[in-house]
Symmetry: C2
Subunit: 344 residues, 2 copies
Amino acid sequence: MADIARRPDHRYGNRPTMKDVAARAGVGLKTVSRVVNGEPGVTPDTERRVQEAIEILGFRRNDSARVLRKGRTATVGLVLEDLADPFYGPLSRAVEEVARAHGALLINGSSAEDPYREQELALALCARRVDGLIVIPAGTDHRYLEPEIRAGVATVFVDRPAGLIDADAVLSDSFGGARDGVAHLIAHGHRRIGFIGDRPRIHTASERLRGYRAAMEDASLPVEDAWVSVGSTGPERVRSAVREMLAAPEPVTALFAGNNRVLVTVVRALSGHPRRVALVGFDDIELADLLGITVIAQDAAALGRTAAERLFRRLDGVDEAPERVVLGTTLLARGSGEIPPPSV
Amino acid sequence: MADIARRPDHRYGNRPTMKDVAARAGVGLKTVSRVVNGEPGVTPDTERRVQEAIEILGFRRNDSARVLRKGRTATVGLVLEDLADPFYGPLSRAVEEVARAHGALLINGSSAEDPYREQELALALCARRVDGLIVIPAGTDHRYLEPEIRAGVATVFVDRPAGLIDADAVLSDSFGGARDGVAHLIAHGHRRIGFIGDRPRIHTASERLRGYRAAMEDASLPVEDAWVSVGSTGPERVRSAVREMLAAPEPVTALFAGNNRVLVTVVRALSGHPRRVALVGFDDIELADLLGITVIAQDAAALGRTAAERLFRRLDGVDEAPERVVLGTTLLARGSGEIPPPSV
DNA sequence: CTGAAAGCGCTAACAA
DNA sequence: TTGTTAGCGCTTTCAG
């Protein structure tokens, strides 16, 4: 164990290089390169010899070196919030499929909703010279990406817009979706409607709150402070918000849940409640159909696909001004949103 | 557009290099390298000059070149089946967290349950010289990875074991979990129990079927062919399996669902059924608690974490024989598994 | 059709 | 404390 371990020139666990293959096959280095890359201009016989040497040596091209030379990595980076969130899984997968169609691989990481971590990750990806970057922002200031974008890293924001820089963004219509959902409750007779959402510094969260207020205002309904609760999506916080809204002297008769995590907790909280409370949630969740939960659904996969396609269009050299694409949402009426208020 | 686009020597979108920084700061190349890497032996004053130049030029180290030199990429690859599957999200996230703790990034891709795609992906990751590879196998022959492993790519299989090679694997106890679940149904009086699972070439699927048979045999119960249905997890196939099992002259009184996707479809199918049919599923799913669905839960995050920790232990030079780690499952009784058979 | 030489941007090893 | 030189493994260029 003492001296055997020291083999400083055997990196990558001692892998053969093109040079080794060339030596073994008795050809020049460039010929090996040609064969490996399927370039024309090699005799079938020579090619066979090279292939044999590759086989025997177990050669596999070192893409790090290739990248260094070619300047393109055929890799895109995806910075998202939490890979474990069921909303981001399909989004990520959609990005991956588009990348695959373009021969690129995907490096992804989670920011955990921490702006610092988002930046750290995005810059680490840039240091690896990803060709492009898709970012679901955690922070609200993306000026740190300006040098990178200027240097040629194609960048598309998705789910939430970039902060303080002009860049492509693909979003769902959070405002319109929330407004529609709340209007739906109003149409079913509700006048006191509670809103439970995520922290307002998150763009989608504040947009949905704005949609809620707009729908109330459109119907000339007041909004009392006690009906709005925003903050962490942790179960404790959401549970207590539900409890308080329902325990008030004039309790809300309907609730709007601002995202998938809030919705899950609200559903749990309401399941133990004696009175039937109407509910509409933003984001569809699995089995919501069986539970009869009315939701505003957004298409996570379409979000990812659209963003990725835009990214690769940029990488193909299309040079338009940054644009904001907004995808529509769908109201899925399944029962919970159609429960009338008790008084009616 | 004609000649402007041709700037062959301006790669990476024309980014400054250490050489540029050195020139600007009036120092040597190596000094810049020292500053960038936080190595000692640089005067505060020199350091400041270099930092300034870095700032002005918008320099960011090119990790591709660094990797080529150092031989380690600080990247691990994860080949999974489908990033959009809610089972793999938490697994992937857990791997990511461990990688992050070790300063590594994660490249991941989905095989879509296609062995060829798995191989293609795994080898592409090897070509990029990932330090390690975590694979959820789609195929059953992993000899193609032998040269890579021999060349030093640390490799850990997770969720399913490797085929035809000796390698680390971290698995859930599919056999024991399924046996427990079926035994649970038997304990509640069922004698005719149906099993609906995934394609048997998938290791977990065949193990779960084996667990089902073992439980039946332990209770000296026969298993009729019509009670076992394996194949694609597509909704149509699963729906028709449910329909047939319940339409038989002597219908099953309970069902065991072999994985999360099967379970979801079975729940939907049963929700429209007049008779109450007992049900236990493998894998917990969101909101299953509210629907009262009894499941055998496995810990996807623990699976990912354990595999990743093992991987990094290998990368730290630990050299033990390949090992198989099996994590236990938990039966969560919520109602559907405790429904008695009609006759009782 | 084939190969030798230069160099991508960085770090290791050694000088100064 | 600082700089110079040689390469990492590949592709590009250009000459045979």
